[in-house]
């Protein structure tokens, strides 16, 4: 797990302790602490969240072929055992998820099985809202868990955007913050400064005008805007630089999600201080993974998109030696019913698996596959509360304080 310099300083000194002995503290220490706060640390970790909209059928994703109940319940949707990518004698990946199998074998993929929450909600809107707010008890909660996370790390001198949504749909509620403005982008170009056609080299002039010291006014806002203007210029140049180099030629499949993840990879390579990326597969609303009828073909395609896109992303980052800084996590608002519904589809369910992909994972399966007989109203029972996954991302991976985001301390997972 990452252990940034910032965390080191916080852990060893503690902000309040240091303040209290500042006059006596060695100057270099004070200086380095001051520098640590607003500065970007290139060892800072990055979380990429992939939303699978519509309710993914976990049972046909990580398939419990070793359990006879699977075949009994899935009369038409049953996936042939011989086509599965077998993980162990119990479960295997969907036939179109060969790329995930390879990631799994390389130790870059973990599966958390049976993730959910008590009294699961079966409505798309409400269930998605619960996953976004991370607060099943307060349906009216006004902020998303990632929104609260970025609010919690904001400081008045920060000039970077801490989180970004990448995708063509409206920004998911999970990023809704009380204070911080989280931008939505479709491609890296949305974060690049555009210029009017003309012969002047305006960017450098503009930069000069922005960075000249302002003599007589002690207005803290002017100074802040100067810092931020220069930073936006630098960040924009960094993005342009990484997208123009040969290193940007990595091959991605031509799926929507692959395009979004390619943008994420470019922005990670530009190193502009974004700690959280959010992207999506399935169209954002009802649809996508929501297969009430003739599920097989559509689900095949979606899982293929997911697995190929994520694999390309992981390999790209690995090639560029950035994978150790990145952790990708999938989620969906619910799983599906164990029994199919007579229309070659499934109904809204409960618990489902979450995938983690990255360079610093232990890999393997976390938790047991949920029982197919002891069920929650026809769907799988959860064993791991989703907020434990969130808390693990926040505390162990990002180095934030999950308690401020989730209101209490959830038991962390060993990933």
């Amino acid at each position: 797990m990452s252990y940034t310099r910032r965390n080191f300083l916080k852990a060893t000194l503690g902000a309040s302790t240091l303040l209290s002995f500042t006059p006596a503290a060695p100057n270099f220490l004070v200086r380095s602490l001051m520098a640590a706060a607003p500065r970007r640390d290139d060892r800072d970790t990055i979380l990429v969240v992939v939303q699978l909209s519509g309710g993914n059928d976990g049972l046909n994703t990580v398939v419990p072929y070793g359990d006879d109940e699977y075949a009994r319940n899935r009369t038409t949707l049953r996936l042939p055992t011989k086509d599965l990518h077998k993980i162990d004698s119990m479960v295997g990946f969907h036939p179109r998820m060969g790329a995930f199998m390879r990631l799994y074998e390389q130790g870059h993929l973990s599966i958390i099985q049976g993730v959910g929450y008590p009294n699961s909600d079966r409505s798309h809107e409400r269930a998605m809202r619960i996953w976004h707010t991370a607060d099943p008890d307060q349906p009216g909660r006004q902020t998303g868990w990632l929104g609260r996370a970025v609010d919690s790390i904001w400081d008045p001198d920060s000039t970077n955007a801490p989180a970004v949504f990448v995708g063509p749909i409206a920004q998911p509620f999970g990023l809704n913050a009380e204070r911080v403005v989280v931008p939505s982008v479709r491609s890296y170009g949305d974060l690049v400064i555009q210029e009017m056609p003309g012969r002047l080299k305006r960017q450098s002039q503009w930069k000069r005008a922005a960075e000249l010291p302002r003599a007589e006014q002690d207005n803290p806002l002017t100074h802040f805007l100067q810092q931020c203007t220069l930073n936006s210029y630098t960040n924009s140049r960094r993005i342009e630089a990484v997208t123009k180099t040969a290193a940007d030629t990595f091959e991605y499949p031509s799926f929507q999600l692959a395009g979004s993840l390619r943008t994420v990879a470019q922005l990670i390579r530009a190193d502009i201080g974004i700690r959280i990326f959010f992207t999506e597969l399935g169209g954002g609303g009802i649809g996508g993974f929501d297969n009430h009828a003739n599920q097989l073909g559509n689900h095949c395609a979606l899982l293929h998109h997911l697995s190929e896109s994520v694999a390309a992303f992981i390999h790209h980052l690995k090639r560029d030696k950035l994978l150790h800084r990145v952790l990708l996590m999938t989620f969906s608002e619910f799983g599906r019913t164990v029994k199919e519904n007579g229309r070659r589809g499934t109904g809204h369910g409960a618990a489902a698996p979450i995938f983690l992909a990255g360079g610093k994972l232990k890999g393997g399966l976390l938790g047991a596959h949920p029982s197919l007989t002891d069920m929650d109203n026809g769907a799988l029972k959860f064993a791991i509360d989703f907020r434990r996954v969130y808390a693990t991302m926040l505390d162990r991976w990002l180095g934030f304080k999950s308690r401020t985001v989730l209101d209490r301390q959830f038991e962390l997972l060993d990933i």
């Binding site: 006014q217 806002l221 805007l225």
Partner: protein, 484 residues
């Protein structure tokens, strides 16, 4: 005026800077008086130390409006500060006709929230009473109601009309109406208030955000107030009172007891001095300064007066006329919200751009009208700004100014400069610096910016229009232009 401007430009050329336009540092004698409420809230009368100049006029229009065109600035200069404030508070134009016309446009667009958003922005651009819209926007953030939850554009339309009708009138009446506004109740999840299940979803933000603020009420007050509101429902978008669902028993709220109903709760919170303080401090942040919280002593006279009559116009008037407002403690001590940033460009260049597109672009910068992010509204300030939103502002300004694309050719700096008497590129660049920033830049910055237009590559170009578009873009992306 035309000839005058050319004269101004040539005069300043020789002096390098515009001393008459700069705000300058705080005179020591003035700095001391800023903390004295008697002096701070007294009406500003220009004198040698604090002259009435273009910078002050620009400041007034940024706060009490959404920026200004050149003739408005010039008119304000000759009017003097108090008369300029008069006109912003009580414009002579026929407002009733204007608002009726726009109410009609909005009613016909009420099928879609994007349509409403576009008409509101259009109204802001064209209104003869920009302060009314400035205050409507303030209340939209104060009683933050999000269309995504209400899911009924018609209710949202009526909600903002309610805000507008009271924006400069009575906070008491506005609060009363808000407590019966179906949009607010639905948004907060308070659309059902059963006797057996008192709903705290409205009364909690009522106390925490709309009036008293944290620390001036207890959980018990919230519970009891919720009982007083039982019987009120928003059913199929309509407010309904069901008497048998009302709990008529005795409640104890903020030290008073009685068989209170919802209206009594509103009356009781309005009797608390904390309510007036919450609103005064929030308006202080909006109209005067957001870098520092006002000292309790400083705002005390305003709080006391506001608590008596809840007259919003009077409160805004005191603030806008004051010595404090026209001091360096207020000058550029706020960051423009995205609407102010974009309309500051549009108003200065006297064009009307596509507000459908603008509404969408402003949403991308964090200010989606009709969709404040939480019940606390847009917190704003430094939160508006990060490197991504700043790139967004840069690119929006470019789209507005480039003369083609989604905003078409509605804003043309060269045409505006010529209209006000500039015939050369040189005078036009100085004019634009005056128009957008009232020339108030650090001398080095001022000269550097001017030089960009005088660079050989620029002068060699036979395209003053394109040159001036690029120059205008450079000016509105300077750090100073983001400050209100």
């Amino acid at each position: 005026m035309v000839a005058q401007n050319e004269k101004t430009a040539s005069r300043n050329q020789s002096k390098r800077v515009h001393p008459a336009h700069r705000m300058g540092g705080v005179h020591p004698a003035v700095a001391e008086k800023l903390t004295d409420p008697g002096w701070a809230w007294a009406a500003y009368q220009p004198d040698a130390q604090r002259p009435w100049n273009l910078a002050q006029a620009g400041h007034l229009f940024r706060r009490a409006a959404f920026g200004a065109g050149w003739d408005q600035l010039q008119q304000a200069l000759s009017d003097g500060p108090q008369r300029a404030v008069d006109k912003l508070l009580r414009p002579q134009a026929d407002l009733a006709v204007f608002n009726r016309t726009y109410d009609g446009y909005e009613a016909s667009a009420a099928g879609s929230i994007d349509g409403l958003r576009a008409w509101w922005l259009r109204r802001i651009i064209q209104t003869p009473h920009p302060l009314l819209e400035k205050m409507t926007l303030f209340w939209h953030s104060h009683f933050a109601t999000n269309s995504l939850k209400v899911k009924n554009p018609g209710l949202m339309l009526r909600h903002v009309q309610l805000l507008r009708s009271q924006a400069l009138n009575s906070f008491r009446d506005m609060l009363q109406a808000i407590s019966r506004d179906p949009a607010v109740l639905i948004c907060l999840g308070a659309d059902a208030n059963r006797k057996a299940l008192p709903n705290e979803s409205f009364v909690r933000p009522l106390m925490e955000v709309f009036t008293l603020s944290h620390g001036h009420y207890t959980q018990k007050d919230v519970r009891e107030a919720a009982r007083a509101f039982t019987g009120w429902f928003a059913l199929r978008g309509r407010l309904r009172y069901i008497p048998r669902e009302h709990d008529g028993n005795i409640k104890e709220i903020l030290g008073e007891s009685g068989s209170f109903a919802g209206d009594d709760v509103v009356r009781i919170v309005l009797e608390q001095p904390a309510t007036a303080r919450t609103v005064v401090c929030k308006l202080y942040r909006w109209l005067i300064c957001e870098t520092e919280e006002p000292d309790a002593m400083l705002v005390a006279p305003l709080v006391e007066s506001f608590a008596k009559d809840y007259d919003i116009l009077k409160l805004a008037e005191t603030m806008l006329r004051s010595n404090l407002f026209f001091s360096t403690a207020a000058y550029r001590r706020r960051i423009k919200c995205p609407v102010e940033f974009a309309l500051g460009i549009v108003k200065a260049l006297e064009g009307v751009v596509s507000t459908t597109q603008l509404g969408q672009d402003l949403a991308g910068l964090g200010q989606n009208l009709y969709h404040p992010p939480t019940v606390k509204g847009w917190i704003g300030g430094r939160h508006w700004i990060n490197s991504a939103t700043l790139v967004g502002r840069h690119n929006l300004a470019l789209a507005l100014l480039q003369g083609s694309g989604p905003y078409a050719d509605k804003l043309n700096p060269w045409v505006v400069a010529k209209k006000y008497g500039c015939s050369t590129l040189k005078s036009a660049t100085r004019f634009l610096l005056d128009l957008f920033l009232q020339g108030d830049l650090d001398p080095d910055v001022y000269e550097t910016v001017l030089k960009t237009a005088q660079a050989p590559a620029g002068i060699g170009s036979d395209d003053p229009e394109g040159m001036l578009r690029r120059f205008a873009h450079l000016v509105v992306t300077l750090p100073e232009f983001h400050l209100a």
